[in-house]
């Protein structure tokens, strides 16, 4: 009888008895995956693809850190070092950060809003393949040029590819072309996926899922998706201009013909700054789902969380030139960007306080997802503080281009975003595979990661303050930088080991992990109401929701949430 009221309770109607399926041939499996339009498979492909690049980008980071561990090192040549940091930055931002977040979005959004698939499944597959092709294209640049050890003719212009370094005269050959093309293609893929996610959230919610009842994760993906069209499109436009400059001899960024290098900086950072938020908002989204479940409390201040997210989305579009304080924009512009940057700490602060309030007085379970979330909270706070320091223009003049900046943004990228990505893996892995990840390995992963992270990036601030510039391939002894660089490099190796433990855990638990069941964490959102892994149609009957925590209502019919909202 309950079934007629809440479609959810028919969860049990799905037949979960294992059926012996005939074994598929490898080619059949491959064909299935390559031609799939199922949002879950595409999500998993995104995730697999970005994990591959995480390992590649990590190797590049280690190469850089070996080179910088001691002064006067000759592990790699200056040319290779340039290629390493270019590939590392580009890979981590475009082929790890974005795809992994889109992967989770693809997988989770339809499940959490009670839909059967994305709004445009075929566009979804197209976007994935074009992004993936973009990623591989960057590495095709290895083929040719000066051979593999010299990293071929890989791009060496830095991940922001400042003009006029990218002009034909300064980067002959095709390395920069590979870079532009790969960014252009993956950008088109990102726009496609973002569009799909936004339309899915707006148009595919199950009955009863009003906007103010959506899980916060969907809210954040809605904001992220919209930011992608507004921020990644300018990057696409700028790449088109750069390609025109390189191929048909136009003069957008050609200073010899009156073109402007500053214009490229603006265009790049109009994308580049919001991009940081495009990466961090999904991390917030994971925190919003994980922290309440592991504190056994509903999220504190749902409306404030939504407002803060939308606020961050808007404000982040107006702060890009804090990356350009040192180019001489003039006092007026600097003041504007100093203040707009500082304003962004208001909604961010609201979020941090709401998370703390959610944890406060809760029954906390320190399983791996929660451990990583707590790490995230602390590290994100510190990253925010160095960010505010850098938003003061005179301070920035001293430290821009130094290791201090590198430490700051890695605090966000690794300390906050990567930590939340790990948390999300531990949290949703049972849903996607039907098995739990090993908690023991998870703890090892977490503690090694924390130790390695703080060794690397806490100490990286110091040589920065002592004047060590970023992007130098080696340095003189006797400036007080040696010891810090050594510690930083050791920390990087520890992080690498932690990551390998994680990857091992992923593979190992797939075969040996404990069987998870539908709802291992006793959670409240819709994805936990269906089987693990979910069947291809997600839900046997379309769910109907009446509150923000539909599974809570089913588990506690005597005290449903809608009495409080």
């Amino acid at each position: 009888m309950a079934d007629s009221v809440s479609g959810l309770s028919s969860v049990e109607a799905i037949d979960l008895t294992p059926v012996e399926k005939p074994r598929q041939l490898f080619l059949e499996v491959l064909y299935d995956w390559v031609t799939t339009v199922d949002h879950k498979k595409i999500g998993l492909m995104y995730i697999a693809y970005s994990l591959t690049f995480l390992v590649i980008g990590g190797i590049e980071a280690i190469v850089m850190r070996i080179q910088l561990a001691v002064p006067h090192n000759t592990f790699v040549s200056p040319e290779v070092f340039n290629r390493m940091f270019t590939l590392h930055g580009t890979t981590m931002v475009f082929f790890v950060g974005m795809p992994i977040l889109f992967g989770f979005g693809n997988y989770l959004v339809p499940l959490m809003i009670g839909a059967r698939d994305m709004a445009f499944p075929r566009l979804n597959a197209f976007s994935f393949w074009i992004s993936a092709f973009g990623g591989f294209l960057l590495y095709y640049s290895f083929i040719g040029g000066s051979g593999l050890y010299g990293a071929g003719s890989a791009p060496d212009v830095g991940w922001f590819a400042y003009a006029p370094l990218t002009a034909k005269v300064f980067s002959p050959g095709h390395s920069t072309d590979y870079w532009t093309l790969s960014i252009l293609l993956s950008g088109i893929g990102s726009i496609g996926t973002a569009l799909n996610i936004v339309v899915t959230i707006i148009c595919m919610r199950c009955p009863g899922m009003k906007l103010n009842r959506m899980p916060l994760l969907s809210w954040l993906y809605l904001v992220t998706g919209s930011m992608v069209f507004i921020a990644v499109s300018p990057l696409t436009a700028a790449q088109i201009m750069l390609m025109l400059d390189r191929y048909v001899g136009s003069h957008f960024f050609d200073t010899q013909a009156g073109g402007s290098a500053i214009l490229w900086m603006h265009f790049f950072w109009i994308f580049g700054h919001p991009e940081v938020y495009i990466l961090v908002l999904p991390a917030f989204a994971f925190a919003n789902e994980i922290i309440p479940v592991f504190s056994r409390k509903a999220i504190f201040g749902y409306p404030a969380m939504v407002a803060a997210s939308v606020g961050i989305g808007f404000i982040s579009l107006s702060v890009w030139a804090h990356h350009m304080f040192a180019v001489g924009m003039g006092a007026g512009a600097n003041v504007f960007f100093v203040f707009s940057t500082m304003i962004i700490s208001v909604p961010t602060g609201i979020k941090i306080f709401n998370w703390l309030a959610t944890i406060w007085g809760g029954k906390i379970r320190f399983a791996s997802p929660m451990l990583f979330s707590v790490g995230f909270l602390f590290q994100f706070l510190i990253a925010g503080l160095t960010g505010i320091m850098l938003s003061v223009a005179p301070f920035d003049w001293q430290l821009t281009g130094s290791y201090f900046v590198v430490a700051h943004f890695h605090y966000v990228l690794v300390g906050a975003i990567l930590f939340m990505i790990f948390a999300a893996f531990y949290y949703w892995y049972p849903k996607a595979t039907g098995r739990m990840m090993s908690e023991r390995l998870g703890k090892w992963h977490f503690w090694l990661m924390v130790i390695g992270f703080h060794m690397t990036f806490d100490f990286m601030h110091i040589p920065g303050l002592l004047g060590m510039p970023r992007r130098i391939y080696t340095y003189e002894p006797g400036r007080g930088w040696e010891i810090w660089n050594l510690i930083v490099s050791v920390g990087a190796v520890i992080q690498a080991i932690a990551t390998l433990i994680f990857v091992y855990n992923l593979v190992h638990s797939y075969y040996k992990g404990e069987v998870a069941g539908n709802d291992p964490w006793d959670a409240w959102t819709l994805e936990w109401s269906t089987a693990s892994p979910p069947p291809s149609y997600n839900f046997a009957t379309t769910p109907i929701v009446h509150s923000r925590r539909p599974l809570w209502d089913i588990k506690h019919p005597e005290d449903p949430d809608w009495n409080y909202e």
Partner: protein, 198 residues
């Protein structure tokens, strides 16, 4: 767990969601607008910055006729959809064909303008910053016109072969959103390039 009946919450209303075609097109238009904004900004930024001639004042002429054609094609397309809604298939095809012709006239106009600029005035994308920004901005718009025209022609072929009924009016709505957007962009390009830029 679900044996206790659930009292539905009283505030439930009928469940209607926006249409995904329309929302999808709206999102696409936002993304495309962002691309156009960057090109327009570049155009304005480099206005009068060319180190050598020719300047816009020397070579550009106001494309009044083709502009009128393009803008009126938005109306003809609108009438086509209205006719389709009322199941007047003949009128639909006629209005749609007019739209295609008007769009094509606009494109031919652009082609002739470019031919003149390149072979008579010697302005190419390489000549100076004006050439760079002019061809890329106007070219970007023309590309959108071409894409729109291809889709309209496809619709026209389906219409003429009798595959279109009033059930498809909604799809034509989505398509016409795109076409109206292309027209609106032209208003901006026209103002910036031909009015302010001269």
């Amino acid at each position: 767990m679900s044996t206790i009946p659930i009292t539905p919450d009283p505030s439930d209303e009928p469940w209607i969601l926006p249409d995904r075609g329309t929302i999808g097109m709206a999102c696409l238009i936002i993304a495309e607008s962002a691309i156009f904004v960057i090109f327009v900004v570049a155009y304005i930024f480099y206005m009068g910055q060319s180190l050598s001639g020719p300047t816009p004042r020397q070579v550009l002429e106001l494309p009044i006729f083709t502009t009128i054609c393009l803008l009126s094609s938005s109306f003809t397309l609108h009438w086509a959809v209205v006719a389709l809604r009322k199941s007047k298939l003949g009128a639909f095809n006629a209005w749609l064909a007019t739209t295609v012709v008007l769009g094509a006239i606009f494109l031919i106009g652009t082609g002739m303008e470019w031919y003149h600029l390149i072979y008579v005035d010697g302005l190419t994308i390489q000549t100076n910053l004006f050439g760079t920004t002019f061809y890329s901005l106007v070219g970007l718009h023309a590309t959108h016109v071409i894409v729109g025209l291809l889709m309209l022609i496809a619709a026209l072929i389906f219409g003429l072969t009798g595959h279109v009924t009033e059930k498809h009016a909604h799809r034509m709505d989505v398509l016409s959103l795109y076409w109206h957007f292309v027209d609106a962009v032209w208003v901006i390009v026209f103002t910036v390039v031909y009015v302010l830029g001269r």
